[in-house]
């Protein structure tokens, strides 16, 4: 099967407008006859559900949480990008497009990224109209801040909880449609499989997580908005329930899975404290606006700090190595995430780590506190040379900007970050890879769409900060509602889809069999045992840097872990009750398959690009070395029995508007 990305013809700045003018429409009367299923209610799923319902479709929305408002988009902290150029610092649609393609290390699709940049400004207008309380300046206008990998301030924010405020906006739009009866909401429901009829997506099988009931739901199209698969690593900044299952189920029924190995390891997370750790907590990238990252210059100081004999505040400026500022003078602490993460790993691997485990670096706000304090003192006519006054005023400014993040840090680590530098280390945060989609966001299964983090389309091999929220809302509010009409226009005479067919029966049967197996196996090992073990394999051998030997070992180890799982898994409780172990077991069984494809994809791609760093492919200075001649393509994997037999399809990426260059932040 040949991949057709369906990119419209014409100049890049006119593609989306022309496409919208030429795609088919569904009349309001016909929309009332058409059902759409949306799985997931984060920014992408929530905004899509609300907009599709508003257009007149009958939407059935599903989430595994007890309320759509709890989807993990809620935890996004830093902000959302938009090419508004409110700051007059030279921003434009083209620059946002350019930064995103460059940030993604030239492995994303130009046309999709341009469209994203184009609709970005609409998102802010939309959210403000919905009552999202973005940060404002004293004149009452919207405020912006700067994020990694760019030289303009285009990030809109709501303190350190932009995700929650945007999601509450999408959720409120959903509430309006739920009240009108246009969205039927299914909370605490998990999608167990997709149902195809005549090759088209026509419904899903779900499990009610309260009573275990297996249910059939039909629709004319199915939209997957179930997020990314960072929990493959066990430890990540994803929510405990985040999983790949919806994406994996459609993959097994024919949807290609693209670039699975493209994972984002976020540089500023709270370090692991011990084996009991269940998840990792992010400290927003926005902190790098004001925080400076460093380790001691001498190894003996690093060891003294690790052993508690020396305090970081006792080191003078010239005893510190601000390694990002040293290596990347142009972008300094605001280099993109992949670059910052690798640099932290490099220092820690070399023996300069600063916590007990040797896997942490400092993020220091002392100089920002002085800078802001002096500014404030001048404004208030106070003595700028008085350290006490300056410190107090400076801390107030930092508190107003990052208060909740500092509080969160203090609660978890039990140290006061206003007085001593934070300790941070990279952690898995986001997956750029995902279900392959064409320009219309449709997967290789007709009628099955994937939006938000679940798809692969916009971020290439590395995502820039504050772009995930942008993509989720762009897909849901402004892209899918148009493109889905082009597909559904063929369905206006189909009528209601029956669930009393062989296809639904078969799908339901196989779901029930799998659950029965898990409950009846009565092995000796818990789900968490397997999940932790899988996570360790992936983190150690497919993490921040990868090599051929390690990847080959990982594939073998995952295969045998999977065998072990089916022999020895033990799931307590019953299938007809609230049973979290059972829900986890079904999710982990899918991670055990994805993990292998992930390693296989990383093995195939012998170049380094973005978050994918192959040790065999690096420059003398240790920077990632791309191989444009052989790898300017998207790896789209077709399922074929087991992950090891998956078939690789290549979507060649054509760069017509941006010249491929070595990405440099020096």
């Amino acid at each position: 099967m040949a991949l057709d990305s369906k990119i419209p013809n014409g100049p890049i700045s006119e593609k989306w407008t022309n496409h919208k003018n030429n795609i088919k429409l569904v009349s309001p009367a016909n929309k009332r006859q058409i059902d759409v299923i949306v799985v997931g209610t984060g920014l992408a799923g929530g905004s899509a559900s609300a907009t599709l319902a508003e257009l007149g479709y009958n939407v059935k929305a599903f989430c595994f949480q007890d309320s759509p408002r709890r989807a993990h988009s809620i935890a996004a902290q830093g902000g959302i990008n938009a090419a508004k150029n409110y700051q007059g610092d030279g921003d434009s649609v083209y620059r946002l497009f350019y930064d995103t393609v460059k940030g993604g290390d030239y492995r994303s699709r130009e046309a999709n990224v341009y469209r994203l940049a184009e609709v970005s400004a609409n998102i802010i207008d939309q959210c403000v109209a919905q009552g999202v309380p973005f940060a404002r300046d004293y004149g009452g206008l919207l405020d912006n801040r700067s994020f990694g990998g760019v030289l303009v301030s285009r990030t809109f924010y709501a303190k350190g909880q932009t995700g929650q405020q945007l999601l509450l906006g999408a959720y409120s739009a959903m509430n309006r449609q739920i009240a009108r009866g246009k969205i039927k909401m299914y909370n605490r429901h998990e999608m167990m499989d997709i149902v195809l009829v005549d090759g088209k997506a026509r419904g899903i099988i779900t499990r009610n997580l309260i009573n275990g009931k297996i249910e059939r739901h039909s629709a004319h199209a199915v939209v997957i908005a179930s997020g990314g698969y960072g929990n493959l690593f066990y430890l990540s900044t994803n929510a405990m329930g985040s999983n790949v299952s919806a994406s994996w189920k459609i993959h097994k029924k024919g949807a290609f899975f693209a670039n699975p190995c493209f994972t984002q390891i976020h540089p500023t997370c709270i370090p692991v404290s011990g084996d009991h750790q269940s998840k990792l907590t992010l400290m927003s990238e926005s902190l790098r606006n004001d925080g400076r990252i460093w380790v001691p210059k001498s190894k003996s100081d690093a060891i003294a700090i690790r052993e508690g004999r020396l305090k970081p505040t006792e080191l003078s400026e010239d005893q510190r190595d601000y390694y990002l500022e040293r290596r990347y003078p142009a972008f300094g602490n605001l280099v993109p995430r992949d670059v910052a993460s690798r640099a932290a790993k490099e220092r820690c691997d070399a023996g300069y780590g600063v916590n007990k485990t040797g896997e942490a670096v400092f993020l220091d706000f002392a100089s920002a506190i002085v800078r802001y304090g002096k500014e404030k003192a001048l404004l208030k006519g106070l003595d700028q040379s008085d350290d006490n006054i300056v410190g107090k005023l400076g801390k107030e400014v930092i508190k107003s900007k990052y208060g909740n993040l500092f509080q969160m840090y203090e609660k978890i680590v039990d140290q006061n970050p206003y007085e001593t530098p934070m300790m941070i280390y990279p952690a898995v945060h986001y997956t750029m890879g995902g279900v392959w989609v064409d320009y219309n966001l449709m997967t290789t299964i007709p009628g099955c769409f994937a939006i938000g983090e679940a798809n692969f389309s916009d971020h290439g091999a590395n995502r820039l900060g504050a772009s995930a929220l942008m993509q989720g809302l762009a897909d849901g509010y402004f892209v899918l509602p148009y493109t889905i009409g082009d597909y559904l226009a063929e369905d206006i005479r189909t009528g209601q889809i029956s669930t009393e067919t062989k296809e639904f029966e078969d799908a339901e049967k196989s779901v029930k069999e799998k659950i029965k197996f898990l409950i009846q196996n009565k092995g000796t090992k818990s789900v968490d045992y397997f999940h932790k073990k899988l996570g360790k394999i992936i983190w150690n051998k497919c993490g921040m840097s990868r090599n051929e030997k390690g990847l080959k070992e990982a594939i073998k180890e995952i295969q045998s872990l999977r065998e072990d799982f089916y022999k020895n898994i033990s799931v307590p409780g019953t299938s007809d009750s609230f049973n979290e172990s059972l829900a986890k077991a079904t999710r982990v069984s899918d991670f055990l398959e994805l993990g292998e494809l992930f390693a296989k994809d990383a093995l195939e791609r012998t170049e380094s690009c973005g978050g994918h760093f192959r040790e065999e492919s690096q420059s003398k200075e240790g920077e990632a070395l791309r191989d444009d001649k052989n790898f300017t393509f998207v790896s789209a994997w077709e399922s074929n029995g087991s992950p090891s037999n998956s078939i690789l399809h290549k979507e060649i990426l054509n760069y017509e508007n941006i010249e491929l260059k070595t990405r440099s932040y020096k």
């Binding site: 949480q65 940060a135 004149g139 709501a158 405020q165 750790q277 978890i412 968490d528």
Partner: protein
């Protein structure tokens, strides 16, 4: 650390529940409370006992899923945190810890520590939104300047995570803090003023129909709220409500 846990176990919404004791050892003070629960559950699972069911998801204090009543306090003894951010260093070796679900008639128990908070969703269906289409044809975001003070207050109200600690804490199981935060978030902004009267009437009506109790201004909800939502919101909603009633 070595601890004694007394945990509410209840099979499902129909059956009666009871407190069950468990002993647990080797707990590190750096663990979060839920990580301590993970350790317990792993032990129960390996013994073939049904693990303790509890709601949790983001484990960074923002999704509002976790909902435990610990030693008689919603989200436990620490202030301004949810259960997932409560750490074991707040307890002492040898402590006995009582763990119960958020209790209220309007939050029926689903299993063990998991409760049904869908009443909160229904209150928001009744008016927790601004009736604006998501067509993207709205005016420029900077067309209406908003005074920083109002914007900040709206933001403070909007930080509510909908966990239900206020209801679980209130002796009357009142949802006034939650509803008033949701009402204020919109009524403080010019965009939300257009429908303000209708919104407050509809949301309060739904709150009453769900069976939440009355507010007697005790203020316990504010103390236990993990996001520090202020009682000021309740005063504002009462004012808005009366104004809306009169102008009707």
């Amino acid at each position: 650390m070595r601890l004694k846990l007394k945990i509410w176990r209840q099979k499902n919404s129909q059956e009666k529940g009871e407190m069950v004791s468990y002993n647990i050892e080797d707990i590190s003070p750096d663990m979060s409370f839920l990580e301590m629960m993970d350790v317990l559950n792993e032990q129960l699972t390996l013994k073939g006992v049904d693990p303790v069911a509890f709601d949790h998801d983001c484990r960074e204090g923002i999704c509002g899923s976790c909902s435990m009543f610990i030693n008689g306090e919603a989200h436990g003894p620490d202030r301004l945190v949810t259960t997932c951010q409560l750490h074991m260093r707040k307890f002492k070796d040898g402590d006995t810890i009582y763990i119960e679900p958020f209790r209220a008639n309007t939050f029926p128990v689903i299993k063990d520590l998991v409760v049904d908070r869908s009443a909160f969703d229904r209150i928001q269906h009744a008016g927790g939104y601004i009736s604006i289409n998501t067509s993207g044809n709205t005016q420029d975001a900077n067309a209406i300047p908003i005074e920083k003070n109002s914007a900040d207050k709206a933001f403070d109200a909007a930080t509510c995570i909908g966990c239900g600690a206020c209801v679980a804490t209130c002796k009357n199981s009142s949802a006034m803090l939650f509803v008033s935060a949701k009402v204020s978030q919109f009524s403080l902004l010019p965009q939300g003023k257009v429908e303000a009267n209708e919104r407050v009437l509809n949301m309060v009506k739904q709150m009453d129909e769900e069976g939440f109790g009355n507010c007697t201004n005790t203020g316990a909800c504010e103390v236990e709220c993990p996001k520090g939502i202020s009682l000021e919101n309740i005063a504002r909603m009462n004012r808005d409500f009366i104004k809306a009633k009169i102008s009707k």
